[in-house]
């Protein structure tokens, strides 16, 4: 297996792999998000208690789950970067962090817009909301740390360590609704076995969750390619590729 895996740690191979995968991720993502959103907005039933405001769930839950999913992916990359000294892994952390910021912002704002009519307040300092806000600060910290170093090899190492340490926040976010008394409701979807919601609401939600996952994969590939190019732009293979790219549109 190692023999098969190892070439992907090389910049050029990793770049080509991302390029080959990203169109598929993009198409699947678009299909799922459009279907799930139209289904959720138009065809899913209103909630018997929350009325139409429940339609926020179709973006709030996917964005929240994937804001943690993005960090989980970064944590794995950080571990690989530190243990096997693979530079590509460090680049992946930096490529994904801005996507994580986007998802976390969406989770926080849609949560606030849902909390206002349901709880009567935009924001409370309870465990779930606060730990998600800390996730946002960690993402920003990772980018700031990376940009603080002139030498990108040192920056990559520092960022890997910081990402690994910050991953302690993930179980805190996940179990915050169990460990502390909070306004936020418990898990709806991730319960083992039958989800505690109507099937007619569950399916569009599931589609959007997977859709957000594919969006993460798509943007991850595109941004990873950018990071590789930035790091390798003086290498012959990049120059050759860009010159050949002139013949057909980029």
């Amino acid at each position: 297996m190692w023999k098969w895996l190892h070439p992907w740690a090389k910049a050029e191979k990793a770049y080509q792999l991302c390029g080959r995968l990203s169109p598929w991720f993009g198409i699947i993502c678009l299909g799922l998000l459009v279907t799930g959103s139209v289904w959720g907005l138009l065809f899913a039933p209103p909630d018997y208690q929350q009325g139409e405001s429940v339609r926020i769930i179709y973006i709030h839950v996917p964005a929240s789950i994937l804001s943690m999913g993005a960090y989980a992916a970064m944590t794995i990359a950080a571990f690989i970067a530190l243990v096997w000294q693979i530079k590509m892994s460090e680049l992946y952390i930096i490529a994904v962090a801005p996507i994580g910021i986007g998802f976390t912002l969406i989770a926080l704002l849609t949560g606030a817009a849902w909390g206002k009519p349901m709880w009567g307040t935009w924001w409370v300092w309870d465990a779930r909301l606060t730990s998600e806000l800390i996730l946002l600060f960690i993402y920003i910290g990772i980018l700031a740390l990376y940009n603080a170093f002139e030498d990108k090899n040192t920056a990559g190492k520092a960022v890997s360590i910081f990402t690994l340490v910050g991953s302690i926040n993930l179980p805190i976010i996940h179990y915050s609704v169990v460990w502390w008394n909070t306004l936020h409701q418990g898990a709806t979807v991730s319960k083992m076995g039958k989800p505690s919601m109507e099937m007619s609401m569950y399916w569009p939600l599931l589609m959007n969750i997977i859709g957000f996952g594919f969006l993460l994969a798509y943007l991850g590939c595109v941004r990873m390619q950018n990071q590789i190019l930035l790091r390798e732009k003086h290498r012959p293979w990049v120059k050759k590729m860009v010159m050949e790219g002139d013949n057909h549109a980029v």
């Binding site: 139409e52 849609t110 943007l219 950018n226 732009k233 990049v238 860009v242 980029v250």
Partner: protein, 67 residues
């Protein structure tokens, strides 16, 4: 279809502000991140191309000097 009319859909049972604020913001963020990522690719390609032409020009000037 859960709604009788477009007006009813837009009104979201009285929750229009919250529902459309959420969906609007989400759309904005997702499009912004996607566009920024693709723009960056194009920008890097352009930079590499420009540095290549510059290199070529310098080489040509050097050769001309030698002759």
């Amino acid at each position: 279809m859960q709604f009788e009319s477009i007006e009813a859909f837009l009104a979201m049972g009285g929750y229009a502000t919250y529902v459309w604020l959420s969906w609007g913001f989400t759309l904005l963020v997702l499009i912004a991140v996607t566009v920024a990522s693709i723009q960056k690719t194009k920008q890097i390609h352009k930079e590499v191309r420009e540095s290549l032409t510059r290199e070529k020009r310098i080489n040509q000037a050097k050769e001309a000097d030698l002759l």
